[in-house]
């Protein structure tokens, strides 16, 4: 099966600019996650979708970050305006359904550098 696809792989922007990341999960996977992985740290959950509804966005900085999953398939994560501390790898993951018995499948991530 095809894995989780993310684009772009790399992005360099200046602070205060905006940026968007795209994720296409594994076909049939109902649950989609966006994680932020800052250098030297483990991934931190930003938002979780179940189909096209938000399950958990408690750690999403909503003043600058937004995400959507229209039609319950692919998803976009946007940052506007970006700050230096947003430099990180943004990982998308999907699973067949909610719950721990359904393993997460991760994409290769988008590495964002904010200068």
């Amino acid at each position: 099966e095809a894995g989780v696809a993310q684009s772009p792989r790399y992005k360099i922007i200046e602070k205060r600019q905006s940026v968007a990341f795209w994720c296409n999960p594994i076909s049939g996977h109902a649950t989609l996650y966006w994680y932020q992985q800052i250098l030297g740290q483990g991934p931190k959950l930003l938002i979780q979708f179940q189909n096209n509804g938000v399950v958990d966005d408690s750690q999403l900085p909503k003043d600058r970050f937004s995400a959507e999953r229209l039609k319950g398939v692919d998803s976009t994560l946007k940052i506007q305006p970006a700050k230096l501390e947003d430099s990180a790898v943004y990982l998308c993951a999907s699973s067949l359904r909610e719950g721990y018995n359904s393993p997460l499948h991760f994409g290769n991530g988008t590495r964002l550098t904010v200068t």
Binding site: G40, G42, P43, A93, E98, Y100, N101, L104, F106, N108
Partner: protein, 113 residues
């Protein structure tokens, strides 16, 4: 709230040697525990998981982990490492009734030829 600690930022072992990566968690009840591996430029891949039952869990690529409630630990082991095992390893914990998984900061494994 649950948390997970990986005390070692870097570990270096010789190819063919045994490996143990440490993981300690903080949680009041029996947690869900995971080990993930991340190769450079790649996403995370699940190695193994513990939910309940046998405390010694077998995973992919010859890895195993042992849940020790008394020590709040879930250490990852492999009897003989290969150069391809060089990667970053993340321990993660989840809580009953909450789908959120908390990741440790990771341990980077280096393999000497």
């Amino acid at each position: 709230a649950q948390s997970v600690t990986q005390p070692d930022i870097h570990i270096t072992v010789s190819e063919g040697a045994s490996l143990e990566l440490r993981c300690n968690y903080s949680y009041g009840a029996t947690p869900y525990l995971f080990w993930y591996v991340q190769s450079p430029g790649q996403g995370l891949q699940l190695l193994l998981k513990y939910f309940s039952g046998d405390t010694l869990v077998q995973g992919i690529k010859g890895f195993e982990a042992e849940f020790k409630r008394s020590q709040s630990s879930f250490n990852l082991r492999k009897p003989s490492v290969h150069w391809s095992d060089a990667a970053e390893y993340f321990c993660a914990v989840g809580a009953h009734g909450d789908d959120k998984i908390i990741f440790g900061k990771g341990t980077r494994l280096h393999i000497l030829p």
